[in-house]
């Protein structure tokens, strides 16, 4: 640590605010809300880090990013080195800097949070990653020696992309199979442009392809090929097909016209560009009063999207209160600023439609919080006789996803838990030797960084596994 600045001076710097688009303006466009710290503010913010000997922030990060190191390099103006250090720990920092729930991870345990605000690790991660995206030529390119070993990856979400990068870096021949026509998983079809520009995901994918990773689109494992078929083609397999099976409320009226799963709503708009209809061919119903059921990131993304599509009223319907909202704090804050309405302690019991079966409202019950349940959160209880009708013309159900059985149903040897998630050990090893799995298909709906962590660990385990597999005799075919 440089003696350029004392700890006392560091302590005197206050946390820098993220410049953002004006709330009224952004509620009518799909451009990114956060504009990124300018250089001067980024350097100031980085100087707030005390360069702890025993950096607690690192324990808060699921992949253990060496935060003081990259921040020290940043303050020293050594951006290429800072980027290299960061990229070595985290394959998609431009993504995590934007979407990690920092307030419950790295920033939650930063010592500076004890007295005031934590170091803006997320903002700075984004800053360094964005610099790296624009200065790719300044980062060293190492071409690894090909090992001749082939790895097949199912799914191009954060888990699959991370594993692919790690494996390619070690010289393995990697092919990703993706069911959709674009790569990125939830990063491309779920998380909206105003939070994570698609260009960033596309650049990360291009970077992997430049490093030799092959991507085959429109291939559905379980239909186009099965896992046993992939086992014949590859020396090892990593399954990262996510948790993409929407859960519905199971209430009457849920199949009326105007009820969407969040997956459908967001996919129409993000992947299929329905906001640009009729220039893009896929439509979406642009409701005037849109009710989004749920309180997580998915619900916030859906409700803020509805606002941007011109809804007069965009509402969150959540059965607990503000304090229990599982979404990232910043998303809730942004939604409030953009004029999203919150109906707390409210649970839908029926979707109401007119004689043409178009949604006209939702019958709801008021709730109160009772004793804590097994998860430690206070359990919502129905207040008898509190039914009321919430007027709305579009309902978006964002109450969670389950494991999609399409792949696992065609691979009976793969051990699943009672929810249909693949059982894997801490290295991602499944019940089938040479087949690894990670991300949401193992954990259930979780986070980007946890999926990436799984991708990284599995890649390391696969590398060890492959070292034990004899080298193919015929290497000439590979050249």
């Amino acid at each position: 640590m440089s003696a350029r600045i004392t700890t006392k001076q560091r302590m005197q710097i206050t946390r820098q605010a993220m410049p953002e688009q004006d709330a009224a303006a952004r509620a009518a466009n799909f451009l990114e809300v956060n504009l990124g710290l300018p250089e001067r503010l980024a350097l100031l913010e980085a100087d707030r880090c005390l360069q702890c000997k025993d950096p607690r922030c690192m324990n808060g990060c699921p992949v253990g990013v060496n935060i003081p190191k990259f921040l020290d390099l940043l303050t020293a103006g050594k951006l290429a080195e800072a980027a290299q250090s960061l990229l070595c720990d985290n394959a998609l920092p431009a993504v995590t800097g934007r979407v990690c729930p920092q307030e419950t991870q790295c920033e939650a345990v930063c010592v500076r949070a004890a007295k005031g605000l934590p170091v803006g690790v997320g903002y700075l991660e984004r800053y360094v990653a964005d610099w790296a995206r624009e200065h790719r030529d300044q980062l060293p390119q190492v071409k690894p020696e090909p090992t001749g070993k082939k790895v097949g990856i199912v799914g191009s979400g954060p888990a699959g992309l991370t594993a692919a990068g790690e494996l390619a870096r070690r010289g393995h021949d990697v092919t990703i199979y993706e069911a959709l026509h674009k790569a990125g998983g939830v990063l491309i079809y779920g998380i909206p442009e105003f939070r994570l520009p698609k260009k960033i995901v596309a650049q990360e994918v291009e970077r992997l392809q430049a490093a030799g990773v092959k991507i085959e689109y429109n291939v559905i494992i379980g239909r186009t090929y099965t896992i046993p078929e992939l086992q014949e083609k590859f020396d090892a397999i990593f399954i990262a097909n996510g948790a993409g099976l929407p859960v519905f409320m199971n209430v009457p009226g849920e199949n009326f016209k105007g009820v969407y799963s969040a997956n459908e709503y967001l996919t129409r708009i993000n992947l299929m560009a329905a906001y640009d209809f009729p220039r893009s061919d896929t439509p979406v119903l642009n409701g005037q009063r849109v009710a989004v059921v749920g309180g997580g990131n998915v619900a916030m993304d859906a409700v803020r999207t509805a606002k941007r599509l011109g809804a007069k009223e965009a509402m969150i319907v959540y059965r607990r209160t503000h304090d229990e909202l599982p979404a990232r704090a910043e998303e809730v804050h942004h939604a409030e600023q953009e004029g999203v309405k919150f109906e707390f302690l409210t649970a839908p019991i029926e979707v109401i439609g007119n004689d043409k079966r178009w949604v006209t409202g939702m019958k709801c019950q008021k709730m109160k919080l009772g004793e804590p349940d097994s998860s430690g959160r206070r359990r919502p209880e129905v207040i008898p006789g509190s039914e009321f009708v919430l007027d709305c013309d579009v309902v978006v159900v964002a109450i969670g996803t389950k494991a999609n059985p399409l792949l696992t149903a065609t691979c009976p040897d793969l051990k699943l838990n009672k929810w249909g998630n693949i059982v894997a050990d801490e290295n991602g090893a499944t019940s089938i030797p040479g087949v690894f799995a990670g991300g949401d298909i193992v954990r259930g709906a979780a986070t980007v960084i946890l999926a990436m962590g799984d991708g990284k660990k599995s890649a390391q385990a696969i590398d060890l596994y492959l070292a034990a597999v004899p080298k193919p005799v015929n290497l000439s075919a590979a050249v």
Binding site: H181, I220, G244, P246, E254, N255, T267, P278, R279, P283
Partner: protein, 283 residues
């Protein structure tokens, strides 16, 4: 990218395209479909695989031009390309091992019936097909289906085959002959009529449903249909279901969700709404 290998106009609004998709051609089974995505801005639309040739790597799609996406597809010519073809999707047709099957096809549904009849005959099942169209020029796949068994053709005007709906002919066959299973594919009202007919006779009836789809992999839930009290996702649980359980009213209703958008989309494709395209985009 998938090259168009062949094209044939089958009826005034139905076109056959042979599309290069070798992997799918090799493994597809009757009842399965693909999702086709013509260009970057296009819709993803589901189309049944009517036939395939593993040697040339071609799959056969039979397309009824009803809106913008299907009109764009049938305008393609050999040598042109389709950006994405994903599949094969859905469960293969449930087939009986022996006995007598009645295969009923209405309009473009006849093309979906084709691989089913083919598969059944291959297993040694006796196949009778009843197919219909508005008039002679709308009847498709008659010679192909004749390879697998008897074919009864119905036209609305009686100008070819017998006069009337396919359900009338089916009713007579069901009364006169022992039928072990019925497969019915066509417009929703036709499938509903067949299901109502066979329900009272207690003959198992399989229908192929056509709800609006996006991904085709079970991720969006947009294709949900009701079977009795259960919700099913047609792309992964179907698209073929027990016709006696299907809530056809709901299916038909949900199919009308985007009618206004479809009209706009078609109008724009014909250049009628340049202004609208400019003014309706988000600020």
């Amino acid at each position: 990218m998938h090259r168009i290998l062949g094209k044939q106009i089958l009826s005034p609004n139905v076109t056959r395209l042979d599309v290069h998709a070798p992997r799918i051609a090799r493994i597809r089974q009757a009842g399965q479909f693909v999702i086709v995505h013509l260009t970057e801005n296009a819709e993803r639309i589901p189309l049944t695989i009517a036939d395939s040739n593993p040697e040339t790597g071609a799959i056969t799609l039979v397309i009824q031009a009803v809106g913008k996406s299907t009109n764009e597809l049938v305008a393609l010519n050999p040598g042109d390309f389709i950006r994405d073809v994903a599949g094969p999707l859905g469960h293969p047709t449930e087939m009986i091992a022996s006995g007598h099957a009645l295969c009923i096809g209405g309009g473009v549904g006849t093309a979906v019936v084709h691989p089913i009849a083919q598969g059944l005959q291959h297993r040694g099942v006796q196949v009778t097909s009843v197919i219909g169209g508005r008039a002679r020029e709308w009847v498709i796949f008659e010679p192909e289906l004749q390879r697998y068994g008897k074919v009864v053709v119905c036209t609305d005007d009686g100008g070819y085959g017998r006069k009337g709906f396919v359900t009338d002919a089916a009713k007579e066959i069901l009364a006169a002959e022992k039928v072990d299973i019925v497969y019915a594919v066509g417009p929703v009202p036709m499938m509903r009529a067949v299901a109502n007919l066979t329900r009272s006779l207690g003959v198992r009836t399989i229908v192929s449903l056509n709800p609006v789809m996006i991904d085709g992999t079970g991720m969006c839930g947009g294709c949900r249909v009701s079977l009795g009290n259960e919700t099913k996702f047609a792309c992964v649980d179907g698209p073929e279901f027990d016709g006696h359980q299907v809530n056809f009213d709901e299916l038909q209703d949900r199919l009308s969700t985007y009618r206004e958008f479809e009209l706009r989309s078609t109008a724009c494709a014909s250049g009628k709404c340049r202004m609208e395209a400019i003014t309706s985009s988000p600020a």
